[in-house]
């Protein structure tokens, strides 16, 4: 739910974005406490705006709070990850189906454009792991597919779940998520199915895409736990 008027973003908006990125990248570890003193020094803001930012983070599902006890980064667990994955599969397949049914030519063009940008960034990124730039393009590509759906509520829900799942990205070692799969061709096939109006195939590919990420995340995590 971004603010409508982008001309003059509030200080809160800026800080919210910074903390958000830091949570999603793991610089603020899952489950760790978000004390006002620490954060106030880290981002150079007062307790007042911090309180607002943390509150928004809670409503977005990226933080938790207890009254009179402060805030902490949303905690992670395999149980939650599995539930989150199921929810994402259910919602995103639903939205994808509606997008393919309702998307017009402008939608197709947008999907193709976003995929192209993602593919080019992926090419020039051979072995250097996942960059900030790639993450943005990746998000934009999937968002473009969902945007074909005419229901703003469902799209918002799908994006929200996707955002929460980003917290788990910093969970496993990078090599696990990169080496054993061909993400590029997965994206190419999803795009082809979408603009080819093959809803069943697109849904099938999307589900596989989401579930594979989760499985690699879990296996990477367990491997890390058993052999630190």
């Amino acid at each position: 739910m971004p603010r409508a008027r982008t001309s003059n973003p509030t200080r809160s908006d800026v800080i919210l974005g910074q903390i958000r990125v830091d949570i999603l990248n793991g610089r603020l570890a899952p489950g760790s406490r978000l004390g006002f003193a620490d954060l106030g020094e880290r981002y150079a803001v007062s307790a007042g705006v911090l309180r607002e930012v943390l509150t928004r983070l809670v409503e977005q599902g990226l933080a938790e709070s207890e009254a009179q006890f402060g805030f902490r980064v949303v905690d992670v667990s395999i149980e939650r990850l599995i539930q989150l994955t199921d929810a994402r599969v259910a919602i995103e397949t639903l939205v994808t189906r509606q997008a393919i049914a309702a998307g017009d030519i402008a939608w197709e063009a947008d999907v193709v454009a976003k995929h192209h940008a993602l593919a080019r960034i992926g090419d020039s990124m051979f072995s250097e792991g996942i960059t900030e730039e790639w993450l943005t393009a990746h998000e934009a590509f999937h968002a473009s597919i969902l945007s074909g759906c005419k229901n703003a509520y469902l799209i918002e829900i799908a994006l929200r779940l996707r955002s929460i799942s980003e917290v788990y990205r910093c969970w496993s070692r990078p090599e696990h998520t990169r080496t054993h799969r061909d993400v590029a061709s997965e994206h190419r096939e999803i795009m082809a199915a979408a603009i080819g109006r093959d809803a069943d195939r697109a849904v099938e590919l999307t589900e596989a895409h989401i579930r594979l990420t989760t499985e690699l995340l879990i296996s990477g995590r367990t491997a890390e736990l058993s052999s630190p």
Copy 2:
């Protein structure tokens, strides 16, 4: 998304609840501005806590905000209501199906109990319109059915959408939503289908229940507009 520790609710929590109820009941009209001066006097709080409360309202989908322009109650329109209804049908049928598949005996007992309470309140409420008490029981009944689903994310989404749709309740004249339907038997049938583990029928009834409410809302609204 209630706070975990209920022992000492924060002042923000209290005010949030009050404003929330006032929005859902239409005492704060849809689309109306939420100025800090007015609200500060109305609820006897400072601008600081108001700011936090309004922020949470935005994230919950009950208010909107523009930077440097303040907050307003979420605006309503037939277009939005239709989208919201579609989203609710999609999500709630999904959750209902999972609840019927996964719910245990304790879940069944809870559904029966909540339905009983709702039915008794409905009986003792012949023609006096909808009371606050009935609304609470109504919400609890539907929530109990959804609670059978093991996926916390999906349940939260369903409840969130249900909360947003409450804003539309104050849209039409009371008589339209009461006279031309038998809500009690709709609920009874939904309960029977749920604990009878008849997923298809429960989904069918739930969808009809949601869509009928929307249709009566829209027809009541258009009638009101054409003959004020």
